[in-house]
Subunit: 205 residues, 2 copies
Amino acid sequence: MTSVYALTDHIVIDEYAQNVLFREARTANAFTDEPVTDEQVHAIYDLIKWAPTSFNQQPLRVVLVRTPEARERLVSLMVDSNRAKTRRAPLTAILAADTEFHEHLPTQFPVFPQAKDVFFADPAVREASARMNAALQIGYFILGIRAAGLAAGPMSGFDAGAVDREFFPDGRSRSLVVVNIGRPGPDASWDRLLRLAPEQVFTTV
Amino acid sequence: MTSVYALTDHIVIDEYAQNVLFREARTANAFTDEPVTDEQVHAIYDLIKWAPTSFNQQPLRVVLVRTPEARERLVSLMVDSNRAKTRRAPLTAILAADTEFHEHLPTQFPVFPQAKDVFFADPAVREASARMNAALQIGYFILGIRAAGLAAGPMSGFDAGAVDREFFPDGRSRSLVVVNIGRPGPDASWDRLLRLAPEQVFTTV
């Protein structure tokens, strides 16, 4: 491995964007009181919606938790360690996969409108594809939150089945991640954790 | 919804970065002959490795397919429509989830070193978590390819079980996406497909 300074020569977005999205951005566990508006959320979506999914299926569905009643219902379904920070975040979003995404394929993937029935008739195939592609979009969404100058606090510690029943009563969606969104407050983050070395991640054949 | 011009006011990375990562970037199906070096791939990883995963688990594993023999083995396991473009891409990477990621938690998540055994002793729980978090990282990786000025051609059309047996013989990893990487060639992309409207994605409670 060469040094980081040499490696950044291969990156074409500027240092500010690299820092905001990746190098200096941190998962936040505490936030200021500054609200996060619907317009900010829509600006995030308007950016990240362009990133790719398989067959352009776009299975990500988002519930924005805004009322105190809804927030308390969500908090009660989270593990203890996620409760206080979720209660106090300016905005909390439930990120889920729509297992019936294929209904949109005739308009979203017109190059092969039969994809809906040819590839996605089987509910098990559909759910696996929805989970994988919604997770791709959650990756994009987390970076989109950062691109909007905000911090994300993504969490997987909650009762997903209960969250599905409570917040997706039509039974179509599977909640994958709950994310707190806002400006980071004092002591918002832990010390930076390690990352795996390239040798632990890459092999060449 | 306000217009796109107003929405971009909420985004803090510059227009060039927005375009390179999201707005103008396109999935590529054809590439120039320009090679993609290991140093470029390591620069991508050195950027995207910082983005978050649950318990800092970092389950993404990557096989870089460089020899003609390995490429032909991979191509033979792909659906017909993915074969020609994969045969001709400067670099093809297999992106997979390591179901034994928990072995690294004592070093990667030292704030709760017991996580390895307390949360991830069950192989089914571990595989689901690995798949979800590797998919997050694949989202980051696709954007990282673009941040390096390259185009990504991610594909899900391949025999994943056979790819696992062929390229991950230790049985630990599950292949999720195969991605071609390079500079886009002539007629590399389709016309831009639609995206879902915010009203189809967001609900507020």
